[in-house]
C-alpha cells in the first residue's frame, strides 16, 4: 500500500508543470523508468516526517513519556523489510518536543536481549540520568530518565550509550531527536510546525535481503554507500514558497558531511549544537561531523513553482550514493509570510575566566584508540574539573582520522584551531561536539555547570568510542 502511493506520487512529480515542459525532449520516459528500477535511485521517496511522541501524563510542570527499546522492521529499500533496533521499534525513533522549564520524564523499557541505556546528547542532565556508559538498563528492565530542561532551546538527540556496543546499536537504529523549545524562539517568530523540519542523516549499506550491512572498521569507522534522511534514501521534499527551518543531525557512525545547496545557493545558519547563535550567519558550505547539529533557514520564496533544488554532500569522501542528500521540490500556490530572520538572535552569556589548561592527545595505540595514552577504564577518574569553572581544553589529533570530540553534560565554545580560522558560526554559539581534523589541534573553552558527578568525554566516531577512545571526568 505504501509502495503504491509513493509510486503514484513519483509519477506526479515527473510530470513537471507546464513551465518546465521544454525540458521534456532530454528526459525520456524510458530513461525515467530505467532510473526508477534501482531501489537506490535518489529522490524516489517523499521525506518521511519523524513521528512525535505524545506524553501519557501531563501535569502543570512535567510531561511523562513511556517508550520501549525493541526490535522492529522498517521499509528503507522499496519492497524490503529491514530489521532494526528502535525506540518504540521505529527508525529514526519518535521525536520528543520539550519546553524550557518543564521537566520531562521518559520511562525507557528495554525489550532488547542485551543491555542498553539512553544518553541525551547536548542536554544539561544530572549524572544519574545522563546515560553513563556503565549505567545500563538490563534486558527486560526499565528506568525513568528525568530531564530538567533548564537550558536554552536547542536541537538535542538521544541514543544508546551502553559501552562497547554503540557502533552497532546506533547503526541499527537507536537514534532519535529531542527538540527543546523556549519563549525566545517564539518571540523571534522562527518557522514552526510543518515548516520546522528535523532531518536525521546517516550512511548505511545493505545486504541482498534488504537488511542493514555492517562491517567493522576500527580505523576509519563505518562508511556506507547510501545516504538516509529520516530513514529514506536521499528523499525529496515538497516545499512551499516560503522560509523553512531545517535541523540537520549527523547520526552517522563516523562519516563527516559538507552540506551545500546546488549552485552554492544561500542558507542561513541560525543555530548549532547548543542552540541559537548570537546572530545568523549566511553560509554556502556547512561541514557536519558525527553527532553535530546545525539549523538553517532556507528561503524558498525566491524560486518558482516546479523548480528543483538539490542539497549535496560535498565532503571529500562523498561519492556515488553518498553525494545527493535530498531534493526540495518547489510547489505552486501562494504562501504569505511576514517572517524575516532577525539580525540578532541570542545574547551570549558571560563566563568565568578559565582556571586550568589541559591537553588531550588523540592517537591510535598498539591495540586501541587512546586519549593521552589511556583507553577507557570505568574504575579510573581521569580528570576532576570544579563545578561552575571554565577550563581551556586542547585536543591534539596525532592520527589521520577525524575525531569528533564530545563532552557529556556540558557545553563549550571553540576558541581556535590550527587548520584555519574558526568558522564564524562556531564562534557565535555553544557546541557539545567538535570535529578535530587529521593532525589538527583544536582549543575549546568548556564550562562545567550546572551538575556535579561522573560524566565521560569521548570521540563520537562510534568505532573509536567503543574501542576505547573515552575518558571519565568527575565534576567536584
Amino acid at each position: 500500500m505504501v509502495n503504491g502511493f509513493s509510486s503514484i506520487a513519483l509519477l506526479c512529480t515527473i510530470a513537471a508543470p507546464d513551465v518546465l515542459r521544454p525540458r521534456k525532449a532530454t528526459v525520456t520516459s524510458a530513461a525515467i523508468r530505467s532510473q526508477a528500477k534501482s531501489p537506490f535511485a535518489p529522490f524516489q521517496r517523499d521525506l518521511p516526517r519523524i513521528p512525535e511522541l505524545v506524553p501519557n501524563i501531563s501535569t502543570r510542570t512535567r510531561d511523562t513519556y513511556a517508550m520501549t527499546v525493541r526490535e522492529g522492521l522498517a521499509e528503507v529499500l522499496p519492497g524490503f523489510q529491514t530489521p532494526i533496533y528502535g525506540y518504540d521499534g521505529v527508525y529514526p525513533g519518535p521525536l520528543i518536543r520539550a519546553k524550557k522549564g518543564r521537566e520531562v520524564v521518559v520511562r525507557q523499557t528495554n525489550a532488547l536481549p542485551f543491555d542498553t541505556n539512553v544518553h541525551l546528547h547536548g542536554g544539561y542532565v544530572p549524572a544519574a540520568h545522563d546515560g553513563h556508559p556503565m549505567d545500563v538498563i538490563a534486558a527486560g528492565g526499565s528506568f525513568d530518565y528525568h530531564y530538567p530542561n533548564e537550558q536554552d532551546a536547542a536541537t538535542l538527540w538521544y541514543h544508546d550509550h551502553a559501552h562497547g556496543r554503540t557502533s552497532k546499536t546506533l547503526y541499527y537504529g537507536l537514534v532519535s531527536m529531542y527538540l527543546l523549545e523556549d519563549e525566545l524562539e517564539t518571540e523571534l517568530g522562527l518557522p514552526q510546525g510543518e515548516f520546522d523540519v528535523p532531518l536525521v542523516l546517516a550512511d548505511h549499506a545493505f545486504n541482498k535481503d534488504g537488511s542493514f550491512r555492517y562491517a567493522e572498521n576500527v580505523d576509519i569507522g563505518f562508511r556506507g554507500d547510501t545516504l538516509l534522511v529520516n530513514g529514506a534514501i536521499s528523499p525529496r521534499m515538497a516545499v512551499q514558497r516560503r522560509r523553512y527551518r531545517l535541523r540537520f543531525l549527523n547520526a552517522s557512525n563516523a562519516r563527516s558531511y559538507a552540506l551545500r545547496l546546488g549552485n552554492a545557493r544561500a542558507m542561513v545558519q541560525i543555530a548549532g549544537d547548543g542552540g541559537l547563535l548570537s546572530r545568523p550567519v549566511p553560509r554556502t558550505n556547512i561541514p557536519l561531523h558525527p553527532a553535530e547539529r546545525v539549523e538553517v533557514v532556507i528561503d524558498f520564496s525566491q524560486y518558482g513553482p516546479g523548480e528543483e533544488l538539490t542539497l549535496y554532500n560535498v565532503d571529500t569522501e562523498a561519492g556515488g550514493g553518498t553525494t545527493p542528500i535530498m531534493r526540495f521540490d518547489i510547489q505552486g500556490g501562494k504562501a504569505s509570510e511576514d517572517f524575516r530572520v532577525p539580525t540578532r538572535l541570542r545574547d551570549p552569556e558571560p563566563l568565568p575566566a578559565p582556571t586550568v589548561r589541559r591537553r588531550w592527545d588523540l592517537a591510535l595505540g598498539s591495540a586501541a584508540w587512546q586519549i593521552n595514552g589511556l583507553s577507557w577504564d570505568p574504575n579510573r577518574i581521569d580528570v576532576r574539573p570544579r563545578l561552575g569553572s571554565t577550563e581551556v581544553w586542547t585536543f591534539v589529533n596525532n592520527s589521520g582520522r577525524v575525531h569528533p570530540m564530545h563532552l557529556h553534560g556540558f557545553l563549550f565554545r571553540v576558541l581556535e584551531r590550527t587548520s584555519g580560522p574558526v568558522e564564524l558560526a562556531d564562534r557565535l554559539g555553544w557546541k557539545d561536539t567538535v570535529g578535530v581534523l587529521p593532525n589538527e589541534t583544536v582549543t575549546v573553552l568548556a564550562w562545567f555547570a550546572p551538575y556535579k558527578g561522573k560524566y565521560v568525554f569521548h570521540c563520537h566516531a562510534l568505532e573509536h568510542a567503543d574501542k576505547a577512545m573515552m575518558l571519565q571526568m568527575e565534576i567536584v
Partner: protein, 237 residues
C-alpha cells in the same frame, strides 16, 4: 554449482604440480586499499604462513578470526611491524584479518591433510550476508530551474472614474507591475501577484490629465516577460 567446479579445478591443479611442496607462504599487507596480497592460501598440514608488514605506512596487524580456537593468534597493531608466522598442525579453514581493517583485510588459509585432499569448501553465505551495493550513477543535474519566459499580452488600459483600469493576460502565475507616468514623473506604481490567465488591475484617485501606462510582468521564478506594453490614457474629471 560453483563449489564442485572449483573443487575439480583444485584437484586438477594438484595433479598438475604433484611434486611441488610449498614450505612457506608469505602474505603481504597492502596500504591504500587496505587488503592482503593473498586472500586464499592453500597449504598442507605442518606448513607455515608468514604475514609481512614491510613498507606499510598505516597501522595494521594480523589475527585469527575463525575457528574460535585460533583467535589467540594475534600480532601487535603497528606501522611496518615485524613479520608474524604461524605453522598449521590441523587441517581446516582458517580466517585471518587485520583488527583495524576487518571489512577489507581478510583472507582464508585452507589447510589440507598429508594426502593433499582439500578441506570441504565452506557453503555460500546467505543473502543476509551478501552485499547489495548501491550502484546509482552520479547525478547530472544540479538543479532544475524555470527559465521559460512568460508572455504578457492582451494589455488594454481604459479610463474609469478618476482612474485607470488595466487588463492583461499572463501565461503563468507571476507578478504584474503597472507604472503610471505623467510627463517625466512617475505618479503611481503597483505590483500584484496574479494567477495564470487574464486579470485586471485598477488604479484610482488620479488627477485629471494624460498618463502613460507601462505594464511589465515576471513569473514567480523571476523571469521577466519580453516587452513591456505601453498605452496612453487621459483621465477626466
Amino acid at each position: 554449482m560453483r563449489a564442485p567446479l572449483s573443487a575439480v579445478a583444485l584437484a586438477a591443479t594438484a595433479l598438475a604440480f604433484p611434486a611441488v611442496a610449498v614450505a612457506e607462504v608469505k602474505v603481504q599487507a597492502v596500504d591504500g586499499t587496505n587488503v592482503w596480497s593473498q586472500t586464499e592460501v592453500r597449504i598442507k598440514v605442518g606448513e607455515t604462513v608468514t604475514w609481512s608488514f614491510a613498507g606499510t605506512a598505516t597501522p595494521h596487524n594480523v589475527q585469527g578470526k575463525t575457528p574460535a580456537a585460533w583467535d589467540t593468534f594475534k600480532s601487535e597493531v603497528a606501522v611496518a611491524g615485524p613479520d608474524r608466522s604461524f605453522t598449521f598442525q590441523q587441517p581446516g579453514t582458517y580466517r585471518y584479518i587485520c583488527f583495524l581493517h576487518e571489512s577489507t583485510m581478510f583472507g582464508d588459509v585452507f589447510v589440507s591433510d598429508e594426502t593433499g585432499a582439500p578441506p570441504p569448501p565452506p557453503p555460500p553465505p546467505p543473502l543476509s550476508e551478501q552485499p547489495f551495493a548501491n550502484d546509482t550513477p552520479p547525478l547530472t543535474s544540479v538543479e532544475v530551474r524555470d527559465t521559460v519566459v512568460p508572455t504578457l499580452d492582451r494589455v488594454k488600459a481604459t479610463r474609469v472614474d478618476r482612474g485607470v483600469r488595466v487588463r492583461f493576460r499572463l501565461s503563468e502565475a507571476g507578478k504584474v507591475t503597472v507604472k503610471l507616468t505623467r510627463g517625466k514623473r512617475v505618479v503611481r506604481t503597483r505590483t500584484v501577484e496574479v494567477a495564470k490567465g487574464t486579470g485586471s488591475l485598477s488604479l484610482r484617485g488620479l488627477k485629471a490629465g494624460s498618463y502613460r501606462v507601462q505594464v511589465s510582468a515576471k513569473d514567480l521564478a523571476g523571469n521577466a516577460a519580453k516587452a513591456a506594453s505601453r498605452a496612453r490614457v487621459t483621465v477626466r474629471r
